[in-house]
Symmetry: C3
Subunit: 430 residues, 3 copies
């Protein structure tokens, strides 16, 4: 049985930090290679460039050899090898000299976050440009700058990783996280790290009611390619699942529903987030922004919601160099994310329909469940056991019962087992 | 294509002002004659006095030749020809001399609105009496007053006007407004004026999905007579509609639902009013007070709601001489009423079920719908288009989609057309 | 026709005060004997000790001959014959001398309510002990105390009383109150007294739509025994009903729903409580604590809610000697409880589906229901009659119509009769 700690999760994120991930290319493959060390049966799927996937086309691979600017005084700035956020994602090659005033047209910074390098991409239109902190931009000297961008595009593959874990049922739970973001921590090294260790935990379980399909893929084009390749299978088998994203900071717990809004993924995801802390946040489908957009799109209609700590676009460091492994993503934050996903999966696994076997209330004292001296104050002590039994009428799922009882569902697991052993109730599955 | 302005609407109301409208009689016919100048195919229906219409009987016609009081000092006061509100509606003839103290029993005024002449009728019990401002009543001199009321009742007709406009479908939208109020502006010259120009606009439309039936009738007894004459047809054909009343002041927008409460008239009426301004008011069925009482009555059950600016009985000038064409009903107020009715009808006409043709999100850039440079701030720009597409799953009407997107439905019309032309989605009708 | 007053109700409670009620024994039989004087056809059912009833076993009878403590200075304290709360219910015999410090282990008091003797029982584990006020406990002298408890357990019966009143239909309304509490007033002499007089009223009614089954039984084990004996009959016949408990103080009106939550007992119980006063309290199923726990348990599923004044466990005197017939339960409080139960039963009896016979609104003046002079202010006067008619479409029960009209249902009874006589509407039953 693995012992997971925040530091273990954090260390994996640190190991993945340097690679230049994008929607294609070696950064993606390097990332999958590290994951594969943890998950040896991770399968890497490669979809050739130019393949049509629904309304989209798999783009060429992008490779960056080097990218930087030489200032008039000869200093190398915006060096891609120092921070891969400096180069706009999918920039084309460029070797050019230009005045500062002309260079400014190709620089991107965030005046309101002067120390941050923004994260910008231009996947589908040929462009070039650099991202730079406002602080650095403000002190650029006048004169002639030399731009060196040595990149390449070529027909290759879009690569994603997939793990399948068989359970008693061939019905599947899907977990999806994305691997296309360069060096940023919450969005999205946190998702990769947490998901990797969730898979290790799942594989270590002795009994699994459901099968599990876990994908590590580039956002949007990756999930579209995955759905395109597997749509009939997915529609037939997937009964629940989550996009795992932004699960590493220790601020909030957040939930974003499926488009339909009332699937088992919704009921359970909402329950988990609401019961983990008091300052959780429940978003609406209109607030969506990751791969649930594809999974839940009309005609695909998979029951995939999103579980997050602080949601993308909702924290100040989002999509900048400030989204780091120091102040934003912490071991404690990652551990909270891991716990949230684990609780949600356990809740799906254990979600049964209990039914009381005894008419009228059971004689709890006989079963050792009731204090024998009735005073003014004892009645409340057995409220939970009594509530669990009273709601166990065979029509309510354990998660509904937990909501009716006003407790986290995980409080009920051992109690349920006890009542089953005492022959007070039975459980069945739908 | 007609150009409608607030002044055109206001001018029609001014032209209709002087006639002594009541539930029967020449004032009604004079009013319909003016409307017919705008709507040449207006048909006037006459129901003979004493006809049984459900629980009611068509009353005799009432004619007023003159009505006034001569004061002790010989002044003519409460002269019907100066203001038709002075005489209680359906007053019987009277020629009598009496002391001020006795006359007081036949005078009606509003102490809390001292400058207002109240509007009072006694359709179904023979009575006589005068309405007078409290200010004038307070200075009446002692002495003997001479009352002259020269009216007549005779077997004639209840008259109402009806226009039918054929559309592609034989399903009908009903608009109903009333013509029985004497010289008062919001309640009810505004309804007549706005409805008249809505009909002109409807007739000018090239394509109409639905047919339209529009009635100008005396309140209550008129709608009862109309329903009585046409109940089988109405129940078979009417799919939506509105009572158009109090649509001329520029204060509020108001909605009163059908009795059933969830018809298409309700969904759309509510949507229009909520999206027209922020200080709208949604009433309940228990607040009803006009012809929806008949259209929605049990056994009739037509889906007719009410669209209003400031609702009858909700503004201080209501049912008094203060409800005028100067300070209460304005060109701007009437234009707002016209716009509201037009938006509601358009929303019914255009209410379709869009369905996305592409699995997963469309590649918006390819269709020219997406900025190619992805920054932290661009995602929100395409939210509306993305939301329109995501909710277009074939199960939601355009009005529901607009509510889901949090925008007025009329914002979506051109966008929907664009997406249809781009072959991204299809629409169908139920 | 009986005249019930608060004093009559209070007097019955006073007469029942002294008996040492418990879940079995003579106190129960003495109580039933008094009730039988009011209700001669009360049938007493006796279930032998050791009978299995679902998960429970009927206990032996318990008899108390005497119980007290002699203090070191020779004073008799905690005398059962002075207050039957002094002895823990179902205490075993004991004759023992012990030091104060040892005696303390067998004493029970309430430090926060120093003048109160608590009510404690130990039905299902052999124990002994005394309940004493904190004030008395605090001044106990050091030294040796002599404990005398002379009780006995023997195979006998659990006894409960049952009345059946036949109505037009064999569908039954169940009322259940409990008779196992010793000398305490709100919980539970109030329930016995109010229920007794409700039965007298029911028997005096000329027409009863439903049959009535009323039980006076020991809480929990009594209702379980009753259900066990009659479950098939009860499930086939009971269509509504209430646990009558804590109906004697004049503070609140309270409602606790059935487990299912939307039965006719719920709709009507809630309506009655909400319309009786403004400071009512609606509880949730999780707050339950009396015999509804058995009636509504999964597999039994009877539609039994609870109607109360101030609910058990919600008032400070609950389960102590302070719950008395002086300051807690008053004639006014009992009369309010009686009225509440009566209103609920009447509402069930009279709950019909009215349907308007006239299309469009009736001509109210013709039927003498409308003032003939229409002014600005008369419209509101006829709102109620108009609302009653408009909601009478045959699909809504009278209780729903009352809620729609925003009035107590009992306001509608005479109005409904009037409209029926005028042939304006019809009623039918479902």
């Amino acid at each position: 049985m693995q012992i997971v700690s925040g530091h273990i999760l954090h260390n994996l994120a640190k190991k993945l930090w340097p690679f230049n991930r994008s929607i294609t290319g070696n950064g993606v493959r390097q990332t999958l290679a590290i994951i594969k060390k943890h998950l040896p049966d991770l399968e890497c799927i490669e979809i050739p460039s130019n393949t049509k996937v629904f309304d989209w086309t798999i783009p060429q691979e992008w490779i960056v050899r080097e990218a930087y600017i030489i200032s008039p005084s000869g200093k190398k700035i915006c060096d891609f090898h120092k921070n891969n956020l400096h180069l706009i994602g999918y920039s084309e090659s460029k070797k050019i000299k230009l005045k500062l005033s002309d260079l400014q047209n190709y620089l991107h910074s965030l005046p309101e976050q002067p120390s941050a390098i923004p994260y910008i991409t231009s996947y589908y239109e040929k462009r070039w440009g650099f991202c730079i902190s406002q602080e650095q931009r403000d002190i650029l000297e006048d004169g002639i700058y030399e731009v060196f961008i040595d990149t390449d595009f070529y027909d290759g593959y879009l690569t994603y990783g997939e793990v399948f874990i068989r359970g008693s049922s061939d019905k599947e739970i899907l977990l999806s996280t994305y691997i296309c973001h360069p060096s940023m921590a919450n969005n999205e090294l946190s998702g990769i790290s947490v998901t990797t260790f969730i898979v290790k935990w799942l594989k270590g379980l002795k009994n699994r009611r459901y099968s599990y399909r876990i994908v590590f893929l580039p956002e949007t084009i990756g999930s579209i390619a995955f759905i395109h390749k597997n749509i009939d299978h997915l529609k037939a088998k997937i009964i629940a699942g989550y996009v795992v994203t932004c699960v590493g900071d220790d601020r909030n717990y957040s939930f974003l529903p499926t488009r339909i809004g009332n699937t088992i993924s919704d009921t359970i995801g909402m329950h988990v987030v609401k019961n983990l802390c008091s300052n959780y946040k429940i978003f609406k489908w209109n607030d969506r922004g990751s791969d649930e957009r594809q999974y839940c799109s009309p005609g695909v209609d998979l029951p995939i919601a999103s579980l997050m700590r602080t949601k993308y676009a909702e924290y100040p460091e989002y999509h900048t160099s400030l989204d780091d492994l120091l102040s934003v993503v912490t071991p404690k934050g990652l551990m909270g994310g891991y716990k949230m996903i684990k609780l949600a999966i356990e809740a799906i696994e254990k979600n049964c329909y209990p039914i009381t076997k005894i008419k009228c209330e059971p004689f709890l004292s006989k079963h050792g469940l009731y204090p024998t001296l009735s005073t003014k104050f004892t009645k409340k002590n057995i409220a939970l056991i009594s509530n669990l039994i009273t709601w166990s009428d065979g029509t309510k799922s354990l998660i509904e019962i937990a909501d009716n009882c006003g407790v986290p569902v995980w409080i009920l697991y051992s109690l349920l087992n006890k009542l089953k052993k005492l022959n007070i109730l039975n459980i069945h599955y739908k």
